[in-house]
């Protein structure tokens, strides 16, 4: 009986994650009830559903580590109309499995700028130019594929000579250094 409850709860949490974080189409609250809790009265399911949504939201929003999670869930078990110990166990297992993926999805949900979808490049030998001294210089052609959300990509195609590429590498090193400093202070 308890095992069945755990299985159903796990299924419910999975379904909630699909709806809220993974944006899977076609899954509804009603579907979850019918598949996982067919015998549970509608009102009871509603209560269970709301409770789990709230708990999952708190855990994900705080991006809890496992110490925080334990403390949080323990507090929930002690509350009136809180959760049972078995339910706390299911929630812990669930968070262990889904923590990283849910976090990634939350990060993506708050990304509204263009992202870099792909880079392709090739190196050409420049043989046509206004300036004699540029003939036979190697040049990199790089294509950046940019896009946001579900929009179609935009392609930016650049021609870069060696000096330019080296200048850019210097900038990229500066960025790497900043990132390292950030990890240090964090």
């Amino acid at each position: 009986m308890a095992e069945q409850c755990s299985k159903s709860l796990n299924g419910l949490l999975g379904g909630l994650a699909q709806i809220t974080y993974y944006q899977s189409p076609g899954i509804t609250e009603q579907m979850l009830k019918e598949q996982l809790y067919p015998d549970l009265p509608q009102q009871d399911f509603k209560i269970l559903h709301e409770k789990m949504v709230g708990i999952l939201r708190s855990i994900a929003s705080a991006d809890m580590d496992f110490n925080q999670l334990e403390a949080f869930l323990t507090a929930q078990t002690k509350k009136q109309k809180g959760i049972t110990l078995e339910q706390a166990e299911v929630l812990t297992k669930f968070w262990k499995t889904h923590k990283v993926k849910i976090r990634e999805s939350l990060i993506n949900q708050s990304k509204w700028e263009n992202c870099l979808r792909n880079i392709s490049w090739r190196v050409d030998l420049k043989s046509q130019s206004r300036h004699l001294d540029q003939i036979n210089t190697p040049v990199a052609i790089m294509e950046f594929e940019l896009g946001k959300n579900d929009q179609e990509s935009e392609f930016l195609c650049l021609e870069l000579e060696e000096t330019k590429v080296n200048q850019l590498l210097k900038k990229l090193t500066e960025i790497e250094e900043s990132i390292s400093e950030l990890s240090y202070t964090n």
Partner: protein, 212 residues
Amino acid sequence: MERCDSASNADTLRGRGLLGRKRCCCWTWPELSSSWLRAGLCQQIILHLECKTPGVNTLELTERLQAAGVELDLEATTALVHVTALFFRSAAQSKMSAEDLIVKLADSSNNWSKQALQVIRHVWTEQGKLIMAPEAAKHMLTVGQLVDLQWKLGMAISSDSCRSLNHPYVTMMLKVADPSGEIISRSFEMTVPQFRNFSKQFREVATALEMV
């Protein structure tokens, strides 16, 4: 070589997007027409636009033209190559048929000889479709020069769906000069792993350039 006094010719060509460089209006069209016939210039340029050759060897082209009796120096040949490439690229982007292309060229100047237009019609009919494929056209008119790259390292602290985001990200702003000289800017965001991959690719490019 005569300088053309017809500013209107150049304006018409520029207006129809077929002329990007100011200098090219200064050669008369008869000179250009005969050199195409002799050099198979069109062929070379189409091959380049199909990315089958890395470029048009203007030095070699100048020598061949001069050997055939056409007096164009390197600078003039280079400009000629640019103009031809530009109208082929424009035609590719507008998906022009060979007929449309020669009508447009003929409209823009009286100096196109019948033979020159025929050469262009032939080359465009045979090979134009290869550079009009969506992949190819997309690459063509937008090869720009990078003018500036600016960057910012940010940290997303929280959002409406997550109070504890704590997510570092790199934003870049690229300023690019397109072939017409217009500067466009585009920005994009990367996660730290994406940025590291970006850096790695750039280093590969640098290595490849060194090895040429």
